[in-house]
Amino acid sequence: MAAETAATGGQVRRTGPATPYLFLLPYFVVFTTFVLVPAVYGLWISLHDWDYLLPGKPFVGLDNYKALFDPGSAVYSFWWESLSATGIFTVLSVPLLLVIPLLIALLLNRRFKGRTLFRAIYFAPYVLGVAVIGVLWRFLLDPNLGVVNAIIGGSTPWTTAVPWAWVTLVGVTVWWTLGFNAVIYLAGLQDIPRELYEAARIDGGGKWSEFRHVTLPGLRPVLLFITVNTILVSANMFGQSYLITQGAPGTETRTAIMYIAQVGLADYKMGSAAAMSYLLTACLLVISVIVFRMFREKDK
């Protein structure tokens, strides 16, 4: 490819016009096949009464979406209850999952004996699948027979009553996935050039100013990633509720995804489930646009 050297907007460029697209090509092949096409297909499904095994898949236009806003429909109250459950969980868990892993990453980003071991320990719960941690904690937190209540005394209904069930779901999730975010923070911290810390030290700032003026700005792109990803993962929470509380009491801790899975994969109403999925997607897009704005990337 013809190499050209040009400085545009402060950026050094030395690429042929096709180069960026060649870099994108391999990813785009798989992305189009397994994400884009199914996603568009999903939108199409959401406009139908759709069951992949039934011959008739009647077109219903926006009815599946309208039902979500119609208080008289079969899905209305379940859907909004589950969406608010997801909201509660996300609001409670995201701040904890942003701050605590950062503290742990800073703690571990030092040179000391055994740090590989400690990193592995903090990461260990994440290695387990949700099926295992779900069964494990339901067992440990059983209100009447569990080890936790045996140790602390009393019979706190950790899994069967709100608000305790929320404490459990958030607590277990933080315990389980904290290592994931901490590892990404750690990788991000490696990208911050040492020189910057040395400069800060020479300038005579304290630890706190070093953190504010070197660490945080250096982590900005990684922090954006972690924030968006954590919101996303929290909004997709499903297994913990399904296994630990089973949505109890009633359906109060049944999350949006849990309800979507019920409607789509158990009741075989894929059209309605797809409509819910895309409404949830829209909510998340709005939130993420706000987050992107907050992080406003200025290094363009």
């Binding site: 009447n144 009633g250 109403k269």
Partner: protein, 442 residues
Amino acid sequence: MNLSRRHVMGLGVGAGSAVLLSACGDSGPNEKVTGGGQNAAPAATSYDGPNVALAFWNGFTGGDGPFMKKLVDQFNTEHPNIKVSMNTYQWADYYQKTPAAVATGNGPDVGIMHVDHVSTNAARGVILPLEDLAKALNFKAEDFSPPVWNAGVYNNTRYSIPLDVHPLGFFYNKGVMEKAGLDPEKPPTTNDEYQAALETMKSKGIQGDWVTPFEFTGSMQFQSLLWQFGGQLFDEAATKATFGEQAGVQALTWMTDHVKNGYSPKNVAQDADIVAFRNSKNAFNWNGIWTINTLKEDKNLQWGVAPLPQIGTQKAAWAGSHQFVQFKPKAKDDNKLAAGKVFINWISQHSIEWARGGQVPARAEIRDSAEFKALPEQSAIGTQIDYLHFLPPKPGIADAMATVVTAINEAVLGRKEPAKALADGAAKADQLLEQNAKKYGG
């Protein structure tokens, strides 16, 4: 979503659409089962065709798996021209996997389904009618038991042949009863005896009957009580939920009163009732026949099992049933269909082996045999055969059942009064039944 596979068990029942039937009508099995001139063996008892291999899928992942494997091996030995290979998956996975496999032509030939999944899968074109097999073998309802036999019929067409029934039974911990001064050989059989026993245990500081608010087995207990009080979950045509009426309220109130009166702790979590039972902290437990195998692992536990006590005005018990089905193939293969029927019939005839795995055989002749009577626990639970109840064969009935599970949960956990919880659930169920009637054209 991995999840407690058993939860999916309740999901998906059927009834439904004539549209669909016509869609798969042409691939319906025919009677090319050769009997051979003078021997005139009835169709479906022998197969003389070329060698065939059959894939047999099921969800027997527990202690029952090896018993079925043994039967399959024996069948293969006796039928050199049929080779059955058995694949086992968790039930929940199985019910996700089989429709997907069938849709793409990767499905098995023969399988097992819980009776409440049969009509949904029939309506969705996953399984084939077995009408001809039943006719060829001259099966009648009395050869099994009318409720379990009729549960396999959807839209006037038979889709499944019963293998077993697995009812709820009344498990009692003899050690705890003894400690409370009760006669461990005399479990309560009426409501008066039941309440008296609970009161006696309470006076000794024992909460004797933990009520679980979850589907396993709280919802099964509720259904049994509902039927005992003369109620029904749904009306005849399954277009309207009736579980919120008088009988349902009585049934659920009976359960919540346990908590109110201190016979059960509050906030019983999933499985805590049976775990407490194994630890002799709980005396009574309404649980499935599958619990026999679990309890037998505890060598020191003294326990017994009896038919459910009669709390309401009549006898009734919840039960599930494993039923044989044939899956819709990509291309029709008469030899496989014929061989599959031979296999189904043979296993059914040999289901005494299956009973040893912890089940009640569906076939009356085997249930009445001395061999079955020699299995004390199974036969005790098996005596309930004539008053077992099954869900109406409507496709998607499980969607509506989910509202029952929620109502029980809300009431037992004290979030709502029983009447209110059931009324709210019934209103939701009505909407879902209407939706499904539209979807499956019922």
